[in-house]
Symmetry: C2
Subunit: 245 residues, 2 copies
Amino acid sequence: MRVEIWSDIACPWCYVGKARFEKALAAFPHRDRVEVVHRSFELDPGRAKGDTQPVITMLTRKYGMSEAQARAGEENLGTQAAAEGLEYRTHGRDTGSTFDMHRLLHFAKAHGRQDELIQALYRANFAEERSVFDGDEHLVELAVSAGLDADAARAVLADPSAHADDVRADEREAAALGANGVPFFVLDRAFGVSGAQPAEVFTQALTQAWDARSPLRPVTGAVTGGADAEDAGACGPDGCAVPRH
Amino acid sequence: MRVEIWSDIACPWCYVGKARFEKALAAFPHRDRVEVVHRSFELDPGRAKGDTQPVITMLTRKYGMSEAQARAGEENLGTQAAAEGLEYRTHGRDTGSTFDMHRLLHFAKAHGRQDELIQALYRANFAEERSVFDGDEHLVELAVSAGLDADAARAVLADPSAHADDVRADEREAAALGANGVPFFVLDRAFGVSGAQPAEVFTQALTQAWDARSPLRPVTGAVTGGADAEDAGACGPDGCAVPRH
């Protein structure tokens, strides 16, 4: 079974939701047969690299919140994060473009280090004092902490086209699947969970998706009136069949 | 959409079937949204590393063919391969354990080079004079030709436990899906194609699987009587929703 998780590093509910999902997954009896893939979603795709601002300023300017509302939202997130055992700095965080982080996450995926890197990025953004938006070298350090090569990570960051299409393909896929917010969890492309639901909802989704797995429907040439399955060359423990045509 | 292909390097129909599938995929209108994953399947899982023999000898001893039958089978495969534009040596090939090649393919997958490596292994086994079963250094050379690091590939080969569980997990998954021969193609875990079918069968399978994609079924806490979807924290282009609970 495969679970795809669309998220953004700048999305606090993605940070919290990932922990809730993982709690459910850790207790799921078939967890060894569940593969998790992280997919890109930018909350603010129009933001330029280097254009950063305090989270509270962004919340008041972009979403028209009062400063008190914005601060209350951050406090609530801090409480929810703490309930999942996560550190969360409710004051003084920055926000900015996450495009390069998503490119780096695709590079990490190609090297089997995607989960390690997204965890490092979340931690840097939500729990650490140093801003994750303070330049490429910080991202290189986080990539190295996730087990990636420093020079290779630096080269990805220096080339704006590297993995850019992978990020955009994920975002198109999210739109095609009807996601308009994150986190967004998709199980076997059959079930969707929207938002940082409680762990029991993820347990329910894992169970439903597992139970919904059905036997494969065979596709053979017989349906088209052409060659039939018996005719196809195949090898098994008893040798290789030789088709008649 | 995801296509998983179970195959073995020692399986000539896998070599031919991959080319036929790729012909269909190249002409499929949604090819940019198709992800291909190669999965492990050993035709001869009991064979020890280093225990190699000529293909013709294996065919006569293991499957009780006459030498004439075995040679005719190889000639037929040569003809079928040539029809796909593939080179195929009908005389003088060896066979042996492919377990280490499958381990190396999982290592390549983790580095985004799986398709490159399987292609290099197929070519080495079916088209080149030098046996692909003649030792680790040959596999290291093939790994390098697929874009992998020589020392890292050497380390994988030297450690029999590296990616061994990945190989066995793929093989268990094949059994769970009902595959008893290869190549075996699985589309979105919903449709199966067995054998080196003609390209038009793969076209039909891709089309059927594409058309069978259905909207995601949402899973929300409302079903359990607990929290409901409206209550889940999520962030979208208009900000982050704050749950009431």
